[in-house]
């Protein structure tokens, strides 16, 4: 019980922190022209709202309310769907009036017209497809944040150390990340998950430990540029110790890279999870994810009549909008922040 409440608090804290960070970024005076140039483009605004909606749903799904004696804990999304949307017996097409039967006797059961309005139909167990999509958003959120919290601190720290100190430190870190990058990613992840298990946190760890390389390279390059600048020399001339310089002067100047890469990174993670699940080594069977929807769609699409709505939901309402928005937004961020910061005078 306490664990559940702690978990809720944790996710609430993460949520508040994220919202606060976004607001700080939006209001930061040195970014104001970048923000303005992005606000003007409608495509970027829409992408931003889409990302916000998906992440919001994901966050809501993480808040677990402890169950009573017979029920397990549930989230507000579970609650909404259990109370207001009827669980059917089995498949039904979007907006259908009847359930698609498997056994003869209940072949054409009627659907309650109000509670039974399923915008994208239901899956094999009768759950509304939107329910799975929302739960999938929750999984996507955990993966995105979980992998980032492992990959980014590791990649940024090593990148800064390698770039700033050079010499053997740089050689060592470069050796490290070149080695990690040369391991076939898929094989590593499969092996990792087979050893440790397929829970979401293991997946985050597996992804995180392999994908920190990209951000490390970028941060190392930027550090090489920044350490030549006068303000680093000025900080040294003021007697500030090196580690403090790295933390207070260098790190804030590579933060824009973190912001840009977080969005692009998240989109890769979501797609990677689908790939893994498709192969069969992804999330555990009980967990809802968009990848799972796609995998099950394989067989469902071969039925006659084809059951297309789960595939459509998983891909066109689940994966596509979020990944597309993350990419669009990330590109817009990169355009806005990169040249701006360099040409700023």
């Amino acid at each position: 019980m306490i664990l559940i409440l702690l978990g809720d608090l944790f996710w609430l804290a993460v949520f508040t922190l994220s919202v606060y960070t976004v607001f700080r970024i939006l209001k930061h005076s040195s970014l104001s022209d970048a923000v303005d140039s992005m606000k003007k483009k409608r495509r970027v605004r829409i992408a931003f709202y889409v990302i916000c909606i998906y992440f919001l749903i994901g966050f809501v799904d993480q808040l677990k309310i402890p169950g009573t004696g017979t029920t397990t804990e549930f989230s507000p999304i579970d609650f909404f769907f259990q109370t207001y949307i009827e669980k059917e017996r089995t498949y039904s097409a979007p907006w259908a009036k009847r359930v698609t039967g498997i056994s003869e006797e209940n072949l054409h059961e009627e659907i309650n017209l109000v509670k039974g309005l399923h915008l994208l139909g239901t899956d094999v167990n009768g759950y509304d497809v939107f329910y799975t999509i929302f739960k999938g958003a929750g999984t996507a959120l955990i993966l995105s944040f979980g992998t980032s919290i492992i990959a980014f601190p590791l990649g940024v720290a090593l990148g800064i150390l390698a770039g700033f100190f050079g010499g053997w430190v740089d050689d060592l870190i470069q050796w490290l990340y070149t080695t990690v990058a040369s391991i076939p990613w898929l094989l590593f992840v499969i092996a990792f998950l087979m050893v440790f298990g397929r829970e979401l946190y293991w997946i985050c760890l597996a992804f995180g430990l392999t994908s920190w390389v990209g951000i490390a390279r970028l941060v190392r390059g930027e550090t090489l540029k920044i350490k030549q600048l006068d303000y680093i020399l000025a900080a040294k001339a003021t007697g500030i110790p090196v580690l403090r310089i790295l933390y207070k002067h260098l790190l804030p100047n590579v933060t824009y890279l973190i912001i840009i890469n977080f969005t692009l990174f998240s989109s890769n993670v979501i797609l990677a999870e689908s790939v893994l699940t498709f192969i069969g080594i992804g999330v555990q069977p009980g967990t809802a994810s968009w990848g799972v929807m796609l995998v099950e769609a394989q067989q469902e699409l071969t039925r006659s009549p084809a059951i297309w709505w789960i595939f459509a939901g998983g891909s066109f309402v689940g994966i596509l909008p979020l990944v597309l928005s993350l990419n669009l937004f990330g590109d817009a961020l990169r355009d806005a922040l990169d040249p701006r910061l360099r040409g700023q005078n």
Partner: protein, 320 residues
């Protein structure tokens, strides 16, 4: 004597060989006075100043000489000990105010950082860093100091940024301020404001200044003594007034001649010094009697003998 630099030499390891960018440079600075290092680009003035504050880049090494500051030889200090001097006893300001301030940190914070770093030292023990930063901003002549504290560097003009840099350097009331071409990037009127601000602060705080510039106009009004540098060596040194009245070394003469004057005939050619400063790698490979020989207008057999002029030192080998 606050600072005594004796026979300082700095060598850089480069792919083209070792470059002795500073070769046997000596000068002294008394407390509260201003000494200036003058010379063309590439003559080693900036490297000398970096050597004094102990921030030579990784591929540079001291190859001899002493830097005696308040009686202690700085060349013998460990990194931690040296760090205690920087910021508190010695401050440094740089040429380009935009790149010398961190663009994502508020200017007030940058000043405060300097204070907090050396707070444990006695003159600063009981000061509130925030109040002192605002005080400093005010002393620098920036209006609305409390508001300006929260500004970012890009919200300030070049002159204001330079003032902030001076504030950071002087925050802990150092005895020596090293100013590496502080006004080169500013327009003339701002130059004048910054230099008079520095003089005022020097009077108030008793700070000695090691000024580096290539602008003789700046030297005239702001320095007590000067060293003219060429190719890593000091070619002439002495009180500013004396050298201005009576420049002895051909290089110094040529520098003065190169200054355009209000009285010159319109349309006449400007005086230049033919050739250019060779790269530092070639300094000690120069075969001639002195490093300036190839560009010197005199070049005669007197070059091969030593001499010096009373009043100030000139290292030209001709007899006068």
């Amino acid at each position: 004597m606050l600072l005594r630099v004796k026979d300082l030499s700095v060598e850089f390891k480069t792919s083209a060989g070792n470059a002795r960018a500073v070769d046997g440079v000596s000068f002294n600075i008394e407390e509260g006075k201003t000494h200036v290092l003058v010379g063309e680009s590439g003559c080693g003035k900036s490297v000398t100043s970096l050597a004094v504050i102990g921030l030579l880049p990784g591929n540079a090494s001291l190859q001899g000489g002493q830097i005696e500051f308040k009686g202690k030889d700085l060349t013998k200090l460990s990194r931690t000990e040296y760090r205690e001097y920087r910021g508190s006893e010695m401050g440094m300001i740089f040429q380009e105010p935009m790149t010398a301030l961190n663009p994502v940190v508020r200017v007030g914070h940058q000043i405060e950082e300097a204070i907090r770093q050396h707070r444990h030292k006695s003159p600063l023990k009981n000061e509130d860093p925030f109040k002192r930063s605002v005080e400093l901003i005010d002393q620098m002549g920036i209006k609305e100091p409390e508001k300006s504290y929260y500004k970012y560097p890009h919200e300030l003009s070049g002159g204001m940024r330079q003032r902030i840099m001076i504030a950071i350097a002087l925050a802990c009331r150092p005895s020596l301020l090293i100013a590496d071409e502080p006004t080169t990037a500013l327009d003339v009127t701002t130059q004048e404001q910054i230099l008079s601000l520095m003089k005022e602060l020097q009077n108030d705080l008793g700070t000695a200044i090691l000024l580096i510039t290539h602008n003789l106009g700046v030297v005239a009004n702001n320095a007590d003594s000067m060293s003219v540098m060429y190719a890593g060596q000091v070619v002439e040194e002495g009180p500013v007034s004396e050298i201005f009245q009576n420049p002895c070394h051909p290089y110094t003469e040529a520098l003065f001649r190169a200054i355009p004057s209000l009285t010159s005939v319109p349309g006449s050619a400007l005086h230049t010094i033919p050739g250019s400063v060779p790269p530092a790698v070639e300094f000690d490979r120069m075969p001639s009697p002195c490093r300036f020989f190839e560009r010197c207008e005199y070049q005669d057999e007197r070059c091969f003998k030593k001499s010096s002029v009373p009043g100030h030192n000139s290292y030209c080998r001709r007899e006068t």
